[in-house]
């Protein structure tokens, strides 16, 4: 689910001829106007000036178009010099037809460019961890997120997000949304998709109220859960209550964590093919990941709303990589291991009158069931043992106005593979939205886990920049 729809970037460019003509007439008339206007009140003068300006602009355009008509009459076969406007109008025709032919190559033009966005996120992270050299007490740059979105045709939008860092560029998301022409409010998504799970998983990092996604989400889903496949979304009303649901299927449960702190910190694209791996053999239906979500938003008066949701991810029996130590770093594929993840989420929002301030209280709880492998076998197989873990978070956020907000989050979860190990953490964030495109955040946090790491605290200073005009679409 995409959380931001980018503003339309299409703009008609004025042809040089009409611009020059405009400019000429403008200068001439402005000079005349300046002579005429003396001793009038300032307001009237400005208004008159504006009327005059508008007249000039339209006269200029009309003159330019008349010139084009004359030009075309004189040489009907040749394209006029100032052909921008006409070409613009014909653009759809020129670009229509088949996608490619054997004797043609595709040449892209700037016309109908998609909306482009770029998000830069720099974090200075300090932590009291003893082993912080690699990750903390230094500047950390999240991979720059490059977003593209645009309509392909009357039926389909294409959305892509690339993550670029000094090691290269990876495809984070890239999918088509078939949103027009299907019955009712059905939409079909296909490609590299964010999995519709809970409220926060599918969000982009720059849309969060804290620097990182909750550690619980990082532990159980690696942050943002992704898959390559298909998903069907649909929403409808039950009385006055809107309900949305989705089901999806994909190759495997992939993840894309760009976490600074938390269980997935330092890891990036999970599920990358391991080198020297044993072949997996044939793919069966069990290897696929199946997803589902249903959610509803209920208005509690004019200023309050409550969203409730429930999601599930099911992998009946996927093969996984296991690394055998000697010889170093060789991976073998396991037999089928099942995994189920179920989550519930609730978010209550109260908006102040005037809608500049808002209070949000929200949380998600997740249950994970994993089939454990017997790694002593030459090819690891399901050992017959399953681990059941659960965890979640609760957060509160208050936005004083458009610019300032504070948030606090507490979480607790059991490790996905060993429920006897519990992880507890908290975060507090102060966010300053300097404007729509520029944000600074200070965040403090602490972690206490049952594994070998001693309790530690951390502090982060984050500066996020968004390039590209955008609007905020509904994310629910």
């Amino acid at each position: 689910m995409s959380n931001s729809v980018f503003g339309a970037a299409a703009q008609s460019s004025r042809s040089p001829v009409s611009f020059n003509m405009c400019a000429f007439i403008f200068v001439a008339l402005a000079a005349r106007g300046a002579l005429a206007q003396s001793g009038q009140p300032a307001g009237v003068q400005t208004l008159e000036q504006r009327v005059a300006d508008m007249q000039i602009r339209y006269e200029g355009r009309i003159a330019a178009l008349e010139a084009q008509v004359l030009h075309l009459r004189a040489a009907p076969t040749a394209l006029p010099v100032a052909d921008d406007a006409i070409e613009q109008a014909l653009g759809g025709v020129m670009l229509s037809g088949v996608m490619g032919r054997l004797d043609q190559t595709t040449r892209f033009s700037n016309r109908f460019n998609p909306a482009i966005s770029l998000v830069s996120d720099l974090v200075y992270s300090y932590s009291s961890r003893a082993d912080s050299f690699e990750t903390d007490n230094q500047f950390r740059m999240r991979p720059i997120e490059l977003g593209f979105a645009g309509r392909i045709d009357p039926h389909v939008n294409l959305i892509a997000a690339l993550a670029a860092d000094e090691d290269g560029m990876t495809l984070e998301e890239g999918y088509a949304v078939w949103d027009k022409g299907l019955p009712d409010t059905f939409t079909l998504r296909a490609g590299r998709l964010p999995i519709d799970f809970g409220k926060l998983s599918a969000m982009h990092d720059h849309e969060l109220s804290f620097v990182d996604k909750p550690s619980t989400l990082q532990e159980y889903l690696g942050g943002k859960a992704l898959t390559t496949g298909l998903a069907v979304h649909h929403w409808f009303g039950v009385g006055e209550v809107p309900v949305r649901w989705s089901v999806g299927v994909g190759n495997s449960l992939g993840q894309d964590a760009h976490a600074i702190q938390g269980p997935a910190a330092g890891e990036q694209h999970h599920g990358a093919a391991a080198t020297g791996a044993e072949p997996f053999g044939r793919r069966g239906a069990d290897d696929f990941v199946w997803t589902a979500r249903v959610t509803s938003s209920i208005d509690l008066g004019a200023n309050d709303d409550l969203q409730l949701g429930s999601s599930g991810i099911f992998v009946p029996g996927a093969k996984e990589f296991f690394y055998t130590d000697p010889p170093a770093n060789t991976a073998v594929a396991s037999g089928a291991l099942g995994r189920s993840i179920i989550g519930i989420d609730a978010h209550w929002r109260h908006a102040d009158a005037g809608s500049t301030g808002a209070f949000t209280l929200g949380g998600e709880w997740i249950w994970v069931r994993m089939e454990l492998a017997d790694t002593s076998a030459p090819v690891p197989v399901f050992s017959g043992a399953r681990n059941h873990s659960q965890g979640g978070w609760l957060f509160a956020e208050y936005a004083f106005d458009e610019h300032w907000s504070v948030g606090a989050r507490a979480e607790r979860f059991q490790h996905a593979e060993d429920s006897s190990l519990v992880w507890r953490g908290w975060n507090c964030a102060l966010t300053w939205n300097i404007d729509e495109f520029n944000r600074v955040r200070f965040e403090l946090g602490g972690v206490d886990t049952d594994d070998a790491v001693a309790p530690y605290g951390f502090a982060m200073l984050q500066w996020t920049l968004v390039l590209g005009s955008h609007a905020h679409a509904l994310a629910w």
Partner: protein, 301 residues
């Protein structure tokens, strides 16, 4: 079975064929219910007690848009931050822009304060197409009413006679009010006001008062301390009749300006709300214009 229900409703439709009209603001809803009368069922997505630039997009809004036969917007990009995205998701062809069911109430308005350039480096301007607050002007109400009558008649031509009659009745009420307001306008002529956001250029033009300063250096931008200081200097020098703020802007800045300069603060809804005395567009205008006039000191004899 499920598929039969809409069919069943369709056969019943001619009996109770009320048009479902969704309006972005209460002003539009009030005028639409005057014009549409019994033929329409009107709902508003926001009231004058809420900032119309920043209505929160909610899934319930999606549902309302999905079910509406007609959508009426203020236009001039007033709703640009939240409506287009909702409209796209609602996938309701009846009210898609360009369809008869989509009524832009600002048709024919000559926008004031059209920016000559829109440039990010100057900050976020929430009025990229000029000032959209023409609902704070008696003649703006007339334009709204006429556009609604015209628009609804396109959706349902058989209502044209009723719509025209209702429009005439609304305009008669408005003309009567304009006569009542004439002394207020006379009092307001030449008066000076300071504002917080550009709510008033249309009314100022109509009534002949002057907005000498805006606490917002640019539409939608919070003032810097230097800007506040400059406005306070101007207030001390020019002694405006009042500082006009919307109800949700009675904050620290407003209070500080009031306490340090002694200027009177008038916090008035910028559209009609759900509650008396602002429950209809005409009654709200009545209160707004009287309150402004009352703030102007009696001319010296």
């Amino acid at each position: 079975m499920y598929k039969l229900i809409p069919l069943l409703l369709l056969t019943l439709a001619p009996l109770h064929a009320q048009l479902s009209v969704l309006c972005t603001t209460r002003d539009l809803a009030d005028i639409a219910s005057r014009i549409g009368g019994n033929a329409v069922r009107v709902e508003a997505m926001a009231t004058g007690a809420q900032d119309p630039h920043r209505i929160l997009a909610k899934p319930s809004g999606l549902l309302k848009l999905r079910r509406a036969d007609v959508l009426i917007e203020m236009g001039l990009d007033l709703e640009h931050a939240w409506l287009p995205a909702l409209l796209e998701n609602a996938a309701n062809e009846r009210i898609a822009p360009g369809q008869p069911g989509f009524i832009n109430a600002s048709d024919g308005i000559t926008p004031l304060e059209v920016p000559t350039t829109v440039d990010r480096s100057r900050g976020t301007d929430v009025h990229p197409r000029g000032n959209p607050h023409y609902n704070l002007d008696p003649e703006g109400g007339r334009t709204i009413a006429r556009n609604i009558a015209k628009g609804l008649a396109l959706v349902k031509p058989e209502l044209k006679a009723t719509l025209d009659a209702n429009l005439r009745s609304f305009e008669a009420d408005l003309d009567a009010k304009l006569k009542e307001w004439a002394p207020h306008f006379a009092r307001l002529k030449g008066a000076k006001f300071v504002v917080r956001h550009g709510w008033f250029p249309y009314l100022a033009q109509r009534a002949g008062f002057t907005v000498i300063a805006d606490l917002e250096p640019m539409a939608g931008l919070e003032p810097s301390p230097a800007h506040v200081a400059a406005v306070m200097d101007l207030i001390r020098r020019e002694k405006p009749a009042a500082l006009l703020v919307p109800p949700w802007k009675q904050d620290g800045i407003t209070k500080r300006v009031a306490s340090e300069t002694g200027v009177r603060v008038l916090a008035l809804p910028v559209g009609c709300t759900n509650d008396a005395p602002y429950a209809t567009w005409l009654s709200w205008m009545d209160h707004l214009i009287s309150a402004l006039a009352a703030a102007v000191p009696e001319p010296a004899k």
